[in-house]
């Protein structure tokens, strides 16, 4: 059994335009990937590719106007899409926890750090009272916050961005979940702090044998911290596999462009990778969505490409994946 198993996930938004016609934005178009215990999976892709949407769907957090017309999400064997709000509340923050990208505005501004960690445990019934405070303090120490006893009393606005992100990691781990989803956990932090925060996250995840999904713009982060990677484009996973394998033999033209535009091993994917714009989600073409930007496109690409398995763990969604690899 996989820890997290997302299969053929579709997400769309229906919105009524000014002309009163319903228009549908197809934001996710068949996303499949898995996360197992003890591994960190990177999810990369340019802005708007659907990374955050994938994370929200996995947490059962999508709400109207988002719709899931097709696909499945299983977590620890349970069907996330079939669960009631009540059931999901028991899982979120308890079995699977999220580290979000704006720590300073995400913490409750009117509660001290320690009290927020205690509340997280009390709500989920994992600990309360003095035991919860003790655990909270130990957790702050575990995420390498200096002087945790004093930090328990701090207000969120008194924290630096890096400190707040560590607090969010402590919040995520305090109930000993099985899966951590981190959506661009270091955006907005300066480079040295980024590395420290990610080191902390990786060490804790691996030491506890958790599974983690790390969403990032940054191929360097993938190379450094992840065992496997899934590359996302226009709401699809276009390539996935072990990090070393994908970096050494990228099979999808988009992955190749990403890596080629990467100086050394550190890459930041800006708003567009190799020029070119993402396809219009309201009017997706048939066939391969990368077609307009693909140097290798042929008439065969008018048909949607299947995921071509290159070996038992590496695959790419391209008609010519094998030839390119």
């Amino acid at each position: 059994m996989r820890l997290l198993d997302v299969q053929d996930l579709h997400v769309e938004f229906a919105a009524r335009g000014l002309d009163n016609r319903v228009r549908v934005a197809r934001a996710l178009n068949g996303v499949s990937f898995t996360v197992d215990a003890g591994e960190i999976v990177g999810l990369v892709g340019e802005t708007g590719a659907g990374k955050s949407l994938t994370a929200l769907a996995a947490m059962g957090l999508l709400r109207a106007p988002a719709r899931i017309p097709q696909g499945g999400i299983r977590f620890e064997g349970g069907d996330i899409l079939a669960m009631s709000d009540r059931q999901l509340e028991k899982i979120r923050g308890r079995r699977m926890a999220m580290v979000v990208q704006s720590p300073l505005t995400s913490l409750d501004p009117l509660k001290r750090v320690g009290d927020q960690l205690v509340r997280m445990q009390r709500v989920h019934g994992t600990a309360s009272g003095a035991a919860a405070r003790e655990r909270a303090e130990a957790m702050l120490a575990a995420v390498r916050i200096p002087d945790p006893k004093r930090r328990m009393q701090a207000w969120p606005h008194e924290l630096s961005g890096g400190m707040a992100q560590r607090v969010l990691i402590a919040m995520a781990l305090i109930n000993e979940p099985a899966l951590v989803i981190a959506d661009e956990p270091t955006t907005g932090l300066d480079v040295t702090v980024q590395a420290q925060v990610l080191d902390t996250l990786r060490d804790l995840v691996l030491a506890r044998n958790l599974g983690a999904l790390v969403i990032t713009h940054d191929l360097g982060v993938v190379a450094h911290y992840c065992q496997r990677v899934a590359v996302m484009f226009a709401g699809r996973i276009v390539e996935d596999g072990p990090v070393a394998e994908v970096f050494a033999r990228p099979a999808h033209p988009y992955t190749q462009a990403l890596i080629a535009s990467t100086p050394g091993r550190i890459a930041r994917i800006g708003y567009t990778v190799t020029g070119g714009t993402p396809p219009d989600l309201y009017a997706l073409p048939d066939g391969c969505l990368y077609r307009d930007r693909c140097p290798r496109a042929t008439t065969a690409c008018l048909a949607p490409p299947p995921r071509v398995a290159l070996d038992d763990s590496h695959g790419a969604a391209c008609h010519y994946a094998e030839r390119a690899a």
Partner: protein
Amino acid sequence: MPTIGRFLLRRLLVAVPVLLGILFLTFMLVRIGDQDPVAMLAGPMADAPMLARIRAELMLDQPLLTQFWAYLGRLVQGDLGMSWQGNAKVTHEIATLLPATLELVTLAVGIGALVGVPLGLHAAERPNGWFDQASRFGSLFGFSLPTYWLGLMAIFIFFYLLGWAPAPMGRVSMMVTPPPVVTGSVLIDSILAGNVEAAWSAASQLVLPVGCFAIVATAPIVKHTRAIAIEVMGSDYIRYARACGFPRRVIRRIALRAALVPVITFVGSEFTSLLAAASLIEFVFSWGGLGHWGLNAILLGDFAAVQGYVLTLAIASVIIFALVDLTVMLLEPRARS
């Protein structure tokens, strides 16, 4: 807490020049109008020397700045001059009339908050849902109906047509003995004196003006509470609370707590603006409060009274905003540091 002392001191230091500026503007504005209080005071029989004598007595023949300086000199001794309309000290008039206005505005804003805040919160639960639409339509009335028109209609319907309300003639029926003044609120003073008849009369006199004014007060409170709640519910920390698996009840509590500070701030500012807007409703109901008096003073060119009226409103807003900010400091950790 030393922080609070320092805060109040800073407030005072800022308030003094602001109050001086307001006073100066009011002082000049009443005098550059074409109202001539001297002719009015002297009456139709007065001859030129008499007019000149009165003018000199009132210092109105002096340069404006000299007059202002003299006014300030008396002001620091607690003397705001004489009101010509009642031939009484302005300070005395304010002390007797202010409670009547405060009673009206406090009740209206109190009701406005008690009704408006829950309505706004409820409307925000489903933006554009039927309740939201209905409450928006309802508050449109509160926004668009002129206060005096609302008062006149209420009098027409409930006093004239239905006879449910007492005559709109002040704060207590002329047929009952008013209680001795303690707080200045006739209702409270009657209760304190154990005078049931006067208390009943005072309460029934309050119903219509407070009702009309509460409608005016409620509409903006609904609107702002709704906007505040919607903003809070869309905030990062509420989204994060959901991602933490907090149940609805916990999320509601976080949201309410977060909305409290901006709602209190708004209700405070609402109070100060209604204090100034009370004059029209007081006028319609012959309330005999400070607003009524201030309005008359403006119409009659009663200079010292206008200045006293404006100064009272300004001081009241300074005090209310300081109280609001103190409350915010207690509730909001960011405001403390």
